[in-house]
């Protein structure tokens, strides 16, 4: 996937690279060719972009190779491997070209490599966690960085005064402070690379990572102030300059944040109007975020802060506005870009280190720096944490502090900054470069290697991945409201009070302004979780369904026939699981064998997927049509097909322009319920149909209890494929049961208009019809059967944004017919229902 994305990636970078290093020679186009050349070598014209693409390719391939061995990557962080690879490559380049090439250029780094990483981290920042810990993050970022810079710089100066640094290192206090300012900042790229693999708990992660992002402003200011002081010469620095330095800290940080927020606002506003040009939505996100970065850089504000704030601020609205596909595109492009940039950075870091011409070694300086950054980092963390813990509800304990101290990795930012130093103004630049390289390598490699065992050894609370549940979401909101209310009662304007205020404001004005109306209407977190759970159930169901078939030797639904043994086993599996849900939109054939009456259900994989874009209906039909039919006895065969087309609730406001069609959002659920009827002709034998002793009847869900129509027990016993519960790990069972309700919800959202129903072939089983006009595939347990009466099966709901259209329904009809022929033997009573759910009403 990485490789596939390379061409995409190559384009912007290639263009960038071209500007960076213009092609050295115009090449042959200048002179007229002697004749028509059959073959012309034009290396120079493509050299720059070609090299860029090649390097990324190398880095990506290296990544693939690293991950071939799980053992290696589980022990060694990827960043270490990349640096080592860079070292090796650098050595090769040095040996071949006799000069160091392809180094990490500060310009390339700051303009092209850093922004994707920062945007990625800002955009996908867990904002709630971030803001809950904002105080601690800010403290560590501002106070901590200042502390580190000054103490390290001063201590190094002291070291020099003590004579432990070789006198050839010509640096004064200001030079050391400058060096301290660039070496003190924890690096977001390195932290991200290492901590992502360590999986410490979220609070710890967000504190270290948030610090590394936010300290950029401090680093930039300190670096610039010190740099200009050094360039002015310490004699010329006046008191007002110090004041300006302090002031510029606020200007740079607040200015950067403001730029980011302005662009976030613009971005959200722009995506509100893209509904007719969905295709540019991902592009907009990247463009405006990049514009924020460049703007901040142009105004010499904190660009990292700008992009972080831009990503953080716009996400909620952008995600609501853009289409589902765009969301995926944004996510993957962002991840790909960030991953590539990170890979390239570490590799180039390794390569750059080889160039011995730019560095000069001084053991005293190197060792002193290493010791001081570790020592002062730890000291700073302990001091700050002690203060913070006076205020924090959940104090950071000692182990957290150890990890935080040890996790202060330095990285490419420091390296790029030190390269940017002016050798004429800072005579000790070469020593600083060498020291920085050593520090970066030490932190990334040694600390990166050891932090995982350390975290294990200290038993640091790890992050636990909880599946989102509706309960958690609901309770979380409840607690928020409770706390806000209690603060109101006590009259204390605390965190919860302000958060509540902000949410009110956001709901009243900001969301109204920045979200398109349809998105705003359906934007609710609880609803969101519910929706996602449903989707996940559906997807996992399909996945599991496919797995079952292949594991039992039934490869694909397209196979014409299956052996009955497999059927039996599958059926039994399903039976045992006893799920009450019939949600799975799987196709089931039920056959009855003479010996084993109930052993008759056959599951078919739901052709390709649970839902498909509408466009691919034909594909659905084809795969669907291939249900193998066991040649054994076919008693009654009742097949009902239900097609739920989940349509979007699109804005059907008075504003006609708001109506919007989006093809990619239509979702079709195709299900076929094959119900078995006993040969004895027990038309009403819903109970007898599945008398297997192995059935564990699930207790009826409350939905079944409450909603009479859900417990409707058809005369037709409908078999449901419930295999997920069987095959899937146990914890999925509950999820599976829940997905019952999810299906119901998909089918049952109300609409003002009656669903369009098409009944294709005549239904011979007239007596049963009135009670149960429609069957969904159901589980073997009759109690769990439910059917959708047409009146209830009204509208599908989804967050997609297309509106129902009649033609679609007509498209579906051939599908049903097709299935007919292939699947049902002549004379079998069958009935097909094609229900077109559309979302007619407005919510």
């Amino acid at each position: 996937m990485l490789r596939a994305a390379l061409p995409l990636l190559g384009l912007p970078l290639a263009g960038a690279g071209a500007t960076e290093k213009p092609t050295q020679e115009p090449g042959s186009p200048g002179e007229p060719p002697p004749g028509l050349a059959l073959f012309r070598w034009q290396w120079h014209e493509v050299e720059a972009p070609y090299l860029v693409a090649l390097w990324i390719l190398v880095a990506s391939l290296a990544k693939i190779v690293f991950h071939l061995s799980r053992k290696v990557t589980s022990l060694v962080p990827e960043s270490c491997l990349l640096i080592l690879l860079g070292l090796a490559l650098g050595g090769i380049v040095l040996a071949v070209a006799k000069k160091a090439e392809y180094q990490l250029e500060p310009g390339t780094f700051f303009l092209f490599l850093l922004p994707p990483i920062v945007l990625d981290s800002g955009y996908f920042m867990p904002s709630r966690l971030f803001f809950d810990n904002l105080g601690a993050i800010l403290t560590y970022a501002v106070v901590g960085t200042l502390w580190n810079a000054f103490t390290t710089g001063a201590a190094l100066w002291g070291l020099q005064q003590a004579g432990l640094v070789a006198p050839r290192v010509q640096a004064g206090l200001l030079d050391f402070l400058l060096f301290g300012s660039l070496i003190s900042a924890v690096d977001p790229v390195a932290v991200l690379a290492v901590f992502e693999e360590v999986h410490v708990n979220e609070t710890l992660f967000i504190i270290v990572f948030g610090e590394s992002l936010l300290n950029d402003a401090v680093t930039v200011v300190l670096y610039k102030v010190c740099n200009s002081f050094v360039e002015m010469g310490s004699a010329n620095v006046r008191a007002t300059d110090y004041l300006k330095g302090v002031a510029s800290l606020f200007v740079v940080s607040l200015g950067g944040a403001a730029v980011g927020l302005v662009f976030a606002f613009l971005l959200a506003l722009t995506t509100r109007f893209t509904k007719r040009v969905r295709i540019i939505e991902p592009l907009l996100v990247f463009l405006l975020a990049y514009a924020a970065y460049l703007t901040a850089e142009m105004a010499s504000l904190s660009a990292i802060l700008a992009v972080t704030m831009c990503g953080l601020g716009c996400k909620k609205y952008v995600e609501a506005n853009i289409s589902h596909k765009s969301r995926t595109a944004v996510k993957y492009t962002m991840k790909t870009l960030a991953s590539c940039a990170e890979t390239v950075i570490f590799m180039l870091l390794g390569i750059s280190a080889v160039d011995s011409s730019k560095w000069a070694w001084d053991s005293g300086l190197v060792l002193g720096t290493l010791f001081f950054i570790l020592f002062f980092r730890a000291l700073g963390v302990v001091l700050q944490t002690w203060v913070l813990n006076q205020f924090r509800l959940v104090p950071l304990d000692k182990i957290d502090q150890v990890v935080m101290s040890y996790g202060g990795l330095r990285g490419a930012v420091a390296f790029a900054l030190v390269i940017l130093l002016d050798r004429t103004k800072v005579p000790a630049k070469d020593y600083f470069v060498a020291t920085t390289i050593v520090v970066v390598f030490f932190t990334v490699i040694v600390q990166g290697l050891t932090i995982k065992p350390l975290v294990k050894w200290l038993k640091v609370k790890r992050s636990e991945h909880h599946k989102p549940t509706l309960n958690q979401e609901l309770h979380e909101h409840t607690f928020d409201h409770i706390l806000a209310a209690v603060e109101d009662v006590v009259g204390h304007h605390g965190y919860h009070y302000w958060r509540d205020r902000w949410e009110q404001f956001d709901k009243k004005y900001l969301s109204q302004l920045l979200m398109r109306r349809s998105a705003y209407r359906i934007r609710d977190q609880i609803w969101d979780v519910y929706y996602r759970l449903n989707i996940r159930d559906a997807i996992s169901f399909v996945d599991q369904g496919g797995h079952v078939l292949s594991s039992t030797g039934l490869t694909l639904p397209s196979m014409p026939s299956r052996n009955s043994m497999a059927e039996t086993s599958v059926t039994n599996l399903l039976r045992e699981s006893g799920s009450g849900a019939c949600l799975d939109l799987q196709v089931i054939d039920t056959v009855r064998s003479g010996r084993d009456r109930e052993d008759a259900a056959m599951h078919h994989l739901l052709c390709g997927g649970l839902y498909k874009p509408r466009r691919r209906k034909d594909g659905v039909a084809n795969t669907e049509a291939t249900n193998g039919k066991p040649p054994r006895d076919l008693g009654f065969h009742d097949t009902a097909a239900v097609i739920l087309t989940v349509e979007s609730e699109e804005e059907e406001d008075s504003d006609s322009s708001e109506t919007e069609k989006e093809d990619d959002e239509g979702i079709i659920f195709v299900a076929r319920a094959t119900s078995e009827v006993l040969q004895e002709g027990k038309a009403s034998g819903s109970l007898e149909v599945c008398p297997s002793p192995r059935i564990i009847p699930p207790s009826p869900t409350c939905a079944e209890k409450e909603l009479p129509w859900k417990s409707g027990q058809g005369d037709l016993a409908v078999y449901v494929s419930s295999e997920t519960t069987k095959i899937v790990p146990v914890d999925m069972q509950t999820g599976w049961n829940q997905s019952i309700s999810s299906l119901e919800s998909l089918a049952s959202p109300p609409c003002t208009q009656a669903p369009t129903m098409t009944r294709l072939p005549p239904r011979p089983r007239a007596p049963e019809e009135p009670q149960v006009p429609l069957k969904l595939p159901l589980s073997s347990d009759p109690h769990s059967c439910f059917a959708f009466p047409p009146s209830l099966a009204k509208a599908g709901r989804s967050r997609s944004e297309s509106s129902a259209d009649i033609p679609q329904q007509q498209e579906l009809q051939p599908l049903m017919g097709h299935k007919d022929h292939t699947h049902l033997s002549p004379g079998t009573a069958n009935s097909h229902w094609c229900i077109h759910f559309n979302k007619g009403g407005r919510l």
Binding site: R392, L393, T478
Partner: protein, 246 residues
């Protein structure tokens, strides 16, 4: 408004209140001033109307229920001890006292269980110890802000109840409420209620300028919906949940 006296002695029964709730003198004094301020007419107790007049509470979807929780058993008057008793639920959990507390003493109001019980009672309208589907539906109706139809709401309620319902009685008992499905995490050999720990995570110091120990934030929910946001961090979500689940 109210007395300008800074003497806690003005508060009736100050000692017994303090013993019961664990608030410090200063906190009690502060709360007492607030109590007097809320009591606009100086009648010595609070009525529902007094609380309803708090502006922000009016827009709080759970505002009415929270007000109700101040008036247990249908009483109409809220005196100061009652006021403080409710607020005591929101003190931070005293970790160190948990271990060596006298088992004979009643559980302090700010224990995790009592915090959870307070929240639970906001759901459990009929006080039967269970959140029925109907009650869940009512809460959801308050909470789900967007225009969701009744049937959609019902299906959410169904799923929510099913999710937490372990014994299959179609309702969420208090025990199930505390467990939240998979929240019971075994740690260090003894079972801890993760859910209740979540109630006390991550207060931000910048915003909690409240003096003394009256930490209102202690009923803080989990800092973010675990898992949901987690999936955003690809690196974080690969961890297999090795913790034993019950």
């Amino acid at each position: 408004m109210g007395s300008r006296s800074s003497h806690a002695a003005k508060i009736p029964d100050v000692d017994s209140i303090r013993r019961e709730t664990g608030f410090s003198q200063a906190s009690l004094l502060r709360l007492y001033h607030r109590f007097r301020a809320l009591d606009r007419t100086g009648k010595g107790y609070l009525s529902r109307l007094d609380l309803q007049q708090i502006e922000a509470l009016a827009v709080n979807p759970l505002g009415d229920r929270i007000i109700d929780s101040f008036f247990p058993d249908g009483s109409l008057r809220l005196d100061f001890p009652g006021f403080v008793r409710v607020l005591a639920h929101f003190r931070p959990v005293d970790e160190e006292e948990d271990g060596n507390r006298d088992p004979k003493e009643p559980e302090p109001l700010n224990s995790r269980m009592n915090k959870l019980r307070f929240a639970f009672q906001l759901y459990d309208l009929d006080r039967d110890g269970k959140i029925s589907r109907h009650e869940m539906l009512q809460v959801l109706r308050l909470m789900v802000g967007v225009q969701v139809t009744e049937e959609q709401l019902e299906s959410i309620a169904d799923r929510t109840v099913q999710e937490a319902d372990e014994d299959g009685d179609g309702a969420v008992s208090f025990l199930e409420f505390t467990k939240e499905g998979s929240f019971l995490v075994v740690e260090d050999g003894h079972a801890q209620l993760q859910a209740s720990i979540l109630l006390a995570v991550g207060r931000d110091f910048l915003f909690s300028t409240i003096p003394s120990r009256v930490s209102l934030a202690s009923l803080e929910p989990c800092p973010f919906s675990r898992g949901m946001e987690l999936s955003i961090w690809p690196g974080l979500c690969h961890v297999p949940t090795t913790k034993a689940k019950k």
